[in-house]
Symmetry: C2
Subunit: 597 residues, 2 copies
């Protein structure tokens, strides 16, 4: 049994809740089968157990170092990136034409979840390459595709997304990296600085291909003047030889966690000799990048969930082995101590973790399934899948990111003093989880995105699709007597959220600052409702399965049914205060003055 | 200006809210004055700025190491412990007879807050010595006091509390370290293992004096058979010479944060030659130790608050200097970026931190003042102060400990990617804050203590005193029109908490497991009400002061008044869901079975 996730639970989500086999009806996926999906998940498990998990702690302790202009990472990463390439993980979802396997995103992301739970830092390398290659293949010219993607697919070359600059983090409109035409079509001279570039330089690959945002000379100010470039660390020169492209690694960041992945500070064009190759049309870079960012955002939600899952299983294992204290009703010191899993508060801390990580996984695989539908469906079905995915992206990114900071904290708490030491992995999970509310857009940015843009997307059609989906689940649950009270509760909360949303949108024009002042709390509220919905869906499946389940499988379904009750009793209950807060007209955050702090 | 706390705010708490000068009316404190208090706080500031804060990062990076049986700590610690001893900080609150300064605990803890905010790890060394010496002077024989305390007061010797064992952490009744009479009165042979002993061994002092719990041969099982011993690392032998006492340093823990303080694993009596000196009477060790633990618990609350304060000020400084993005109503990319302190969500994250850390500081200084009253008052006034302090201790320990994990997280969030790197101290604060919900009793233990013991202490007299104190503040606030709505809100919440408490106590006998199942949430609820009360008290002071304040002081008071509104609007509002949850009869945590996870 893997220590860092539950095979049984993953299969529950993939097959019993998300019904991944329904994808087999689409021609694009017709060569696959339940068996081939299982083989993929088993193969991921094997790599995770044999290659990734054994390096979890080591990679945390031997941080990447910059020496002689090159970042050196853990030597074990060479074998890992090679394996990912050789097994076809990097382009698994791409078409056969491109050397891919036409694997559903649902299955690919399930495999990714296993990798991330085993060793988050190591999982980042291939994940970034996939995203970068996806941008080139979607928007790049044939020449760019042929030149750069093949060696990214084999794992020889690393891909990155290079957006952030010293003066432009959350505010991408302020990037200043410049692109000057060279005279040769599509080729520009790049000059500027990029910071916080994940896998921006390292010695486990032989080249790095940056998908970089820059501003072509004379482009409009703001987001409308940003273009996308391929900026390789080494460019393909005469005779297909690689030659240096004037991309300097100016620094490596030392950070709280996630230490196995090198995060670089890059400096381009110091010698006036850095070439960038335009991807697609000028000034459309940000909209292209958003394709990659949306995938990356769902990916970050999955990363957070995977780390939270690993911490949950580590603390669950500990709680089932550690005797300490006695039950409330059994205080005789002559009796042996009880296992801490029998204490109500330890069970609460475990249920909290289970409810968050399994609820999040359900949402993320739902989003993955939408991505598959968007790819293989047509017409309205495709448009609806894309629209719903667009709405859910900030939630799927932020709920797991914020909450897994708290669930990994609960894991530390279960282990007590031992959890604070480096003798157990939970302290590492706690440190690693903390990056997720920050990268790929902070939680505040996603709050503004959800309330300020997504909710009113296509005149509210995205929101309408969302509430329809939730209502479908509620209606189904109302047919199961044991779930009816939960269904009614979620129904009431949904009604209140819809009413609140209308009220908020009503003030959007006359007072946009007040409208968005508590957008982060709106996102939190939306997250609670969404995870409540995903738990109700799981409870429907579990309730139906329990009747005919083997004895050995019954505890699994019982646990699901109890966890949905936990989520409603302890978590969904928090929506009241949020709705109250968001309905209020006074905004102390707007009234507060900087010099009053 | 210090970077890690606000002098102005500390003085507001000490003088304007807690009115520390009122202590000058008691003979014990009669030699002091407002001026001498200020001198003490200024001296603490100087040590913090010059000695402690400069080593904050270094001590985190150069962890204590065990070599040849000795733990080596940062070389700078020698000068620090020497300075603390020379300046009389270790026994400052003790009587003149004992070489002390008869300083109020209120002032001593305020100075401690400054040290802890500057460098938490460094502050722990003298703090532990004070606690250990306090136990010896209170319960030990004249001979023990004379032998051991003088060199603890000078900082030459380190004091510790040695409770935890591999099989006995939260469950102290299960300790097995044994004490066998040697025939010499009061002298025992000690044998056993102690783990997680803070400052249990290091090379900044020349000896370590452990205040250790052990079980005398033939003692009753459980807590009634635990005795307290002085177990020095080196004992005082013939001719006052120090000789080894068979206390082996078996290990040093490597941990997530709080790395500058050495945490030891000790092994006593491997060669049958470890002497322990009985403190007070046999089998009363745990009740003695609780004196030290209660001080330590209020101390932990202060530690958490201090770290939270340092993180708040670091993120506040950053937010006031970092331009990023534009206001919601001002999106022109040609305009310069705004400082992030102008974004509503950044102000929310700052207000959250401010409300938690300044609310906690107010509670902790209130507790300190009660400790002073308990010392200098007599009769009912003394008894009441002790009783209220006893009730508040789990709250004063746990609310800051739990919440400053979240406030340091908010500080990291404000800095974004920069906050996740080691270039700024906030990631260290985040790691250091995480120890506090664990040591000196986990949050769950304090929940059980509050609901299971303290609330019904002396037939509910402690609770009655508490609600009287809160009601006095409410009545005062109701006289100030601008505060009346807040006072009414707190009044309503208090009424509901009292009703809930009665309801819960009603089921204590028939179903003790259900009664205590959510004790941690009861503690959380109690914490919110208590901090709401402390904020209302601050708001009264600020409202009254604002009318006559100098222009330069007005922003300070305005900030206070706005922050109480923040606390009520965003934090106290969470009491609803907690009361709802605690009133419910179903307990999923009791229903959940270990094999269902």
């Amino acid at each position: 049994m893997a220590l860092f996730y539950s095979k049984r639970d993953l299969r529950f989500h993939v097959y019993e809740v998300q019904h991944a086999e329904t994808l087999l009806n689409y021609p694009y996926f017709q060569d696959h089968s339940r068996e081939s999906f299982d083989l993929v998940l088993d193969a991921a498990d094997q790599i995770a157990v044999k290659l990734l998990y054994p390096l979890l702690t080591e990679m945390d302790r031997a941080e990447p170092q910059l020496a002689n202009g090159k970042i050196r990472v853990h030597p074990g990463m060479k074998a890992i990136v090679k394996q990912f390439g050789a097994d076809g993980w990097i382009n698994a979802t791409f078409s056969y034409d491109e050397g891919g396997q036409q694997l559903p995103v649902t299955i690919q992301n399930s495999a990714g979840f296993i990798f991330q739970a085993a060793n988050y830092s190591a999982s980042v390398y291939p994940f970034l390459t996939t995203g970068a290659a996806n941008l080139i293949r979607t928007f790049g010219s044939r020449a760019l595709i042929d030149a750069y993607t093949p060696r990214m697919y084999t794992g020889e070359w690393q891909g990155t997304m290079a957006l952030t600059e010293p003066g432009a983090g959350s505010s991408l409109s302020d990037i200043t990296t410049s692109a000057t035409p060279t005279g040769q079509e599509g080729v520009y001279h790049i000059r500027g600085e990029k910071i916080f570039i994940s896998c921006g330089d390292h010695d486990a690959c032989t080249n790095v291909v940056h998908l970089m945002l820059a501003r072509i000379s004379g482009a409009p100010a703001g987001v409308k003047g940003i273009s996308l470039f391929v900026v390789p660390q080494q460019r393909i020169g005469a005779g297909q030889q690689l030659e240096p492209n004037d991309v300097l690694t100016a620094g490596v960041y030392h950070k709280m966690g996630y230490k196995g992945a090198p995060i670089a500070h890059l400096s381009m064009g110091n010698n006036g000799n850095c070439e960038g190759y335009l991807v697609g049309e000028p000034n459309k870079g940000l909209s292209y990048m958003f394709q990659m960012m949306n995938e990356a955002r769902v990916g970050v939600g999955m990363n957070a969930t995977a780390i939270g899952t690993a911490a949950y299983h580590a603390s669950l294992a500990y709680a089932g082995q550690r005797p300490q204290g006695r039950r409330i009703t059994e205080k005789d010191p002559a009796l042996p101590q009880t296992l801490i899993i029998n204490h109500a508060d330890v069970k609460r801390l475990l249920l909290f973790q289970k409810s968050v990580v399994e609820g999040s996984l359900s949402l993320l695989l739902y989003c993955s399934y939408l991505a598959d539908l968007a790819h293989v469906e047509t017409g309205e079905a495709r448009d609806n899948a894309l629209l719903l995915l667009d709405l859910l992206t900030p939630v799927a990114k932020s709920y797991p990111s914020e909450m897994c900071c708290l669930t990994t904290s609960a894991a530390v708490q279960i282990l007590g003093g031992a959890g604070y030491t480096t003798d157990f992995p939970v302290e590492q999970y706690y440190r690693e989880a903390r990056i997720h509310p920050i990268h790929e857009g902070t939680t505040a940015i996603h709050g503004l995105d959800l309330l300020g843009r997504k909710i009113s997307l296509q005149h509210g059609k995205a929101a309408q699709l969302y509430f329809q989906a939730v209502m479908t689940t509620i209606a189904e649950a109302q047919q199961i007597p044991s779930l009816q009270p939960l269904a009614d509760t979620l129904n009431t909360v949904c009604g209140r959220v819809q009413q609140l949303t209308g009220q908020l949108l009503g003030q959007a024009r006359q007072d946009p600052e007040a409208f968005l002042a508590d957008a982060t709390l709106y996102l939190e509220l939306f997250g609670l409702v969404t995870i409540g919905w995903r738990w109700l869906q799981q409870a429907i499946t579990a309730s139906q399965a329990l009747a005919n389940a083997h004895a050995a499988d019954q505890p699994f379904y019982q646990g699901k049914i109890l966890t949905v009750r936990y989520f409603f009793d302890y978590e969904l209950i928090k929506t009241d205060a949020l709705i109250h807060r968001l309905s209020a007209s006074a905004h102390v955050t707007l009234a507060m003055q900087p010099d009053w702090f």
